[in-house]
Structure formats: structure tokens, C-alpha cells
């Protein structure tokens, strides 16, 4: 039995607190008829209990007790819906600065980011912070939803102003595809249904955009990268000498018979077999999870990487990173020691240098005040205890990313993108 092959688009919301992110997601789900009757009844009852006049669509994603008490989003909510064209995974993230780490969580795997801006307030610091994060994460497409147009009489002038402000800020960032849409999440203008009140706007509705944006895959199909997760050894008579390397292809296309090189040993061999979830397969590419068997008996274990002899990842111990710092109780310590996770490796590192702190408002690289507190973005160099097999984040999101962990608390204190 076969199902129509559906493409999966992951998108995230971003933008300052109260600008209407959750309401927009609720509206998108409601107008595209993706809400179940019992879900609708539940939020209707909850809205009435809260004394709200209308059904509060933000309650579809703001499901935690404390979120409902405070009327803000605290942590990412994931929602799913599909149209005949695509399947969508939505991450609705918090705008409150205190929860920036949760915004990064939702955004790290997105193909598209919706940046919501309250038309009355325009581009504020938190809008800029999220735009910077989206650009660091290399989210390929941004949609700036200029929201609450109902509160500014659907004024084209105000729309243009916000549009220009954002554009001039984004020009300084590494963002190539930005679309602007005037919307009202509350009333539903230009979300699923085209608004009659913005006749001056000729672009797509949000749903049209999401269904049609070209996601020329996020994956790198050129450079073979296969981080080994584990070794599969059945220890039974039928598969006596079986030794397979399990992993998820992080880049490139691996084919049976291909010559490969192993990191860190540098030994070369040939792929003898690729075992996929449905049996043997001829080739493997991202994001497939497979098991690779090779011709020679080479010692390989978790953390090693399979590449091609003429196209290796960089083997490095001194690594330059852009980081977003999450810890509320401690700032980044120069010469401090941390644990680092990268692909399937875990190592320790020392912070060798803090190069600069990025000023969110001006994008100025501050080399004087280099105290990195919660939610700050900085460029640093770390030295790891063991070599990592890395690529620049812009070349490969999987082999180009790390997380940094404070070993005293076990908390994840930073996300890092390799330069």
C-alpha cells in the first residue's frame, strides 16, 4: 500500500512577546480546518472561564497551566497539520526574553521562520534578536508577518514603515529570502483567507506561501558525512561475523562499492553493504538512518565518521564558534571548562578566547565588554580534548553544530555554530 508522497515543511514562529505568534498559529489551524471539535470545545470553555469575549485561539498552543495563568508562551509547543499539498510541523515559540533558549530550540530544525511583528510597535529589540538567531541558524526562509493590522486601520503606510525598518536591519544579516505579509491573526486577514481590507497588498496569503515556498532541501548531498552512532553486532549464528555501523547520513550520498575513509584513523575501505529499514539498499543519503558494512576489518566505534578519501571533514581541536548563551545563573567563563556534544561525539573543552560580543541593536562587534550573559550572542574559540570532525555550519547544519554543557549542573548552556 502506498501513500501520496508528501513533503514535510518545518516552520517556527519568532518575534517579541505578545506580538501574536500563538494567536496566528491558532488562526492558521482554525481557518485551515485543522482543529478537532473536542479541541475547539475545550478552548472555548477555557476562554469563557477566563472571561474572554471571543474564543482565544492562542490557547491551542499555550497548553500549560502557567502559560494560561500568565497569558504568555513559556515553552515551545509543536503542532501538526497538513493540506493536500504539504505536511507541516509547527514550533510555536515564546517571545519573552527569559525564554529565548526555548525559541532557539524550536527554530534549530526549521526550514521557515515566521517573524511576527506588532504593527503598532514595529521592530523592537526582541524582533532583532530573533532575526539574528534565525540568520545564525541559517533558516533558509523568513516571513515577516506584520500583525494586528486591524488595530492600525490596515494602513499601508504603517506596513511600509515596518517593512523598511526590518529590511534595513536584515540587510546587515546573513539572510537571503525575506517575504512580508500584512495580517491580522485575531480576525484572520491574509492568513488562510485573502483580506478585503488590504487591497494595496498583492503578495501571497500565509498559507499559500507555506504551501508553495521552494524548500530546495536543507540537506547537503555533496559531501559524504556519516557519524557512527553505534556498532551493530548480533552475536548469533546466522550473522556470525556481522559488524555494521549504525548512523544517520549527515551529508552526501553513500553507494555500495564506494571507497570510504574513516576518521580519525584515516584508513580506507569499501562499502560492502548498506542495510536500510526495509532491507538492503544500493545507496543512502540524508536524512536516512541506515547501517553501513565495510569490506575490511577496521576498528570503528561511536563518534568515528565515515567520509570519502578526497573529501574529508576538517579534523580540528581549535574551533571557532558563534554561540548563543542560555544560562541564567552563570556567564560564559573565559578559560572555563565545559562538555561539548558534536554529532555522535562527546568531548570536553576549554574556552580559549572570547573574540567579541554582538550588540543586538546595532550589530556592533563589541571587543571591550565581553561579558556574555543569558541570551547574548558571541564569537568564541574553544579547544577540545579530542579532535572533532567538523564542517562550517553554513555547509552542513549537522556536522557544523555543537551544544555546550555545564558539567556542574548538567544544563545545556549554549548552542554553537561552527564558522
Amino acid at each position: 500500500m502506498e501513500y501520496k508522497s508528501s513533503e514535510l515543511l518545518r516552520f517556527t514562529t519568532a518575534g517579541s512577546v505578545d506580538d501574536g505568534k500563538s494567536t496566528l498559529i491558532g488562526r492558521l489551524l482554525y481557518d485551515s480546518k485543522s482543529i478537532y471539535q473536542d479541541q475547539y470545545d475545550a478552548i472555548k470553555t477555557a476562554s469563557e472561564k477566563r472571561g474572554e469575549e471571543n474564543v482565544n485561539l492562542a490557547l491551542l498552543t499555550d497548553g500549560l497551566k502557567s502559560e494560561r495563568e500568565q497569558g504568555i508562551t513559556i515553552d515551545v509547543a509543536y503542532r501538526y497539520f497538513s493540506t493536500p499539498k504539504r505536511k507541516f510541523i509547527i514550533a510555536d515559540t515564546p517571545g519573552h526574553i527569559q525564554y529565548t533558549r526555548n525559541m532557539v530550540t524550536g527554530a534549530s530544525t526549521a526550514n521557515v521562520a515566521l517573524i511576527i511583528v506588532d504593527a503598532r510597535n514595529g521592530v523592537v529589540e526582541q524582533t532583532k534578536r530573533h532575526a539574528i538567531i534565525a540568520s545564525l541558524l541559517q533558516i533558509p526562509h523568513l516571513v515577516v508577518c506584520i500583525n494586528k493590522m486591524d488595530l492600525v486601520d490596515y494602513s499601508q503606510e504603517i506596513y511600509d514603515q515596518v517593512h523598511d525598518d526590518f529590511e534595513s536591519f536584515a540587510a546587515k544579516l546573513d539572510i537571503n529570502d525575506v517575504t512580508f505579509i500584512p495580517i491580522s491573526a485575531l480576525v484572520g486577514d491574509n492568513v488562510v483567507n485573502r483580506s478585503k481590507k488590504t487591497t494595496w497588498y498583492e503578495g501571497p496569503t500565509l498559507i499559500y506561501y507555506l504551501e508553495n515556498v521552494h524548500i530546495s532541501s536543507d540537506h547537503n548531498f555533496i559531501d559524504v558525512r556519516f557519524p557512527v552512532q553505534s556498532v551493530i553486532r548480533p552475536y548469533n549464528d546466522d550473522f556470525h561475523d556481522y559488524r555494521g555501523y549504525a548512523g544517520r547520513v549527515a551529508g552526501g550520498v553513500l553507494k555500495k562499492g564506494d571507497e570510504v575513509m574513516l576518521l580519525p584513523s584515516g584508513f580506507t575501505s569499501k562499502i560492502s553493504k548498506i542495510q536500510g529499514p526495509d532491507g538492503e539498499q544500493e545507496e543512502a543519503f540524508p536524512p536516512q538512518s541506515v547501517t553501513i558494512l565495510i569490506e575490511d576489518d577496521i576498528d570503528i566505534s561511536r563518534g568515528d565518521m565515515i567520509v570519502r578519501p578526497n573529501n574529508s571533514a576538517t579534523v580540528a581541536q581549535d574551533i571557532d564558534l558563534m554561540i548563543c548563551w542560555f544560562s541564567s545563573d552563570k556567564s560564559l567563563q573565559l578559560r572555563g571548562k565545559y562538555a561539548v556534544l558534536h554529532t555522535t561525539q562527546e568531548v570536553r573543552c576549554i574556552v580559549k578566547e572570547i573574540k567579541y560580543r554582538l550588540d543586538i541593536n546595532t550589530l556592533h562587534r563589541d571587543m571591550e565588554n565581553k561579558e556574555i550573559n543569558m541570551n547574548e550572542i558571541a564569537r568564541i574559540t574553544i579547544r577540545t580534548t579530542k579532535p572533532l570532525f567538523v564542517d562550517a555550519y553554513r555547509k552542513n547544519r549537522i556536522t557544523g553544530s555543537v551544544i555546550i554543557i555545564d558539567e556542574a549542573t548538567n544544563n545545556t548552556v549554549a548552542a554553537g555554530m561552527i564558522i
Binding site: D38, G63, S217, H219, S230, R248, Q288, I403, N410, T412
Partner: protein
Amino acid sequence: MSYHINHLKELESESIFILREVAAKFENPVLMFSGGKDSILMVHLAYKAFYPAKIPFPLLHVDTGHNFPETIKYRDDLVEKLGLKLIVGSVEEGIKNGLVTEEKGFNAMRNGLQTAILLDELEKGKFDAALGGARRDEEKARAKERFFSHRDEFGQWDPKNQRPELWNLFNNKHQFGEHFRVFPISNWTELDVWQYLAVEQVELPSLYFSHKRKVFKRDGTLLADCEYINKRPEEEVFEEVVRCRTIGDMTCTGVWKSDAATIEDIIKEVSTTRMTERGGRTDDKRSETSMEDRKKHGYF
């Protein structure tokens, strides 16, 4: 370039990746098995993830003693077929030896008692990771879950203070006595699960398909008539053609009027229904944040 896999294959690959991470990063993981389709999917994915080796962790079933007999039979057959180890945490035993106290009254259910038994089993087995088949599309508190979800030494979830989770880099560091819940099928929807089970031709318990059953109505939901539920005098038992959309304890799992006799029928039904699958779960209806409250205390 035409390298492209469809969404079911992408979800499968993501889940396999996570199952393998768990096996590699934790010392002593266990898979929580309820007998429902999501647990069955988990076992199926785990089988693929480690093939041709055996699934490298045992199954843990918290048995309320109020399960549909079909569930128990299915479970035992599966364990036998795959040569797995099964651990059964028994609510019945827990009540006998005073670990938990039975609820009383008309809506009495053992669903809440499962948590204490589960935590007890996790502690006894020194498990540092418990794999669960919960999905984010099921319920609003579950929509907030991480793949790797930290639990403190009391097994509690702190939804206001979850660790960030970036890309595919999972921080599983924890103190002694703490553990993780891991949810490899977080991103699957109910429809995805059914479509995948259909494509893979996975055998399923008969409860999911329409059958005749003695039922009665309570608060707008049909419940299976069984010895474990105290009926009110006015609650009349009648026969109906029904099926289960989720399978849990008999006392809280609603059954649905349905003619869906094959998996294709189910897919058709699920893709047009206006109700969520947990819409018939009386355990979720106890309050607005009933799932969140239970999860905070360590529920699945």
C-alpha cells in the same frame, strides 16, 4: 537532485536515530509498553533500528489488572516472537502490598495508580531511560515535550524549566537517581501512525477494528461493559459495533461507534474525523490540565 524521501520515511528515520542514541548513551534503558498502537509502532521501529541484532532493552508493562484480555495476549505473543525480556509492574500487587490505594466510587480508575507503580519499577530496575510512545499531537501538555525529557529523583517533570534541545544533539546528562523519558515518535500524528502501520503491514490487536461489544454510555462516551466498572442503575448496557481508537485501561478507554474493519477503513475514518483520539479518554477529562498534572508527577 532527486534524493527525496516521503514524510513517513523521514519520521521513521528520525525515530530510529533516537532509539539508537538511547541505546548508545544510556546504561540501562527500558521501553514502556502499553499494548497500544504507539507502543507497537515503537517496538517495530526498535526492531528495525537494531536489526539483525536483538532489541537491546527490555519492555516494561504497567499492568492495571484492568486490561483488555486481547492486549495481554498480543503483548505475550510479541515478546515471544522477538525474544525480548518483559517486566510487568502490577497495580494489583501494588494495591495488595500497600504501595498504592484503590480509588473508590463510580469513576474509579487505576490510571493514576500507574504512575507510582511505574516509578517503583524504574527505581527497582535502576533504569536511567524510559522510552515512551507518547506523541505531541495527542494532547496539549504532550505538545510541549522534548525528545529527551529530564526527570528529577522523584520522577517529576518540570515543564517550566526544560532543557533546551537543539538540532539532533541530545543532552542526557543527569545525576544519580534521576532519569530521562525519551519519546522517539514525538513528531508522528495519529494518521502517520496508521498509514505507516498499513504500509508496513504490522499485525494489530483486534480491538482496533470494529467488532460487536456490550457497552454503556457515560458523559457522552461509550465505555466497554466489564466487571471493573461500577455502573449506575440508569446506565443501560446495549450492544454496539465499535472499535478502540486508543487502548488503555478498560475503565477509562472509550470505544467508538465505527464500521472500520480494516486498516484502510481506519485511515479513512481518522482522516475525516472531527474528534481527537484522546477525546474518549475519561482520564484526560478530569480537569483542564489533567494530563499536565499527571505528567508532572511522572505519568507516561
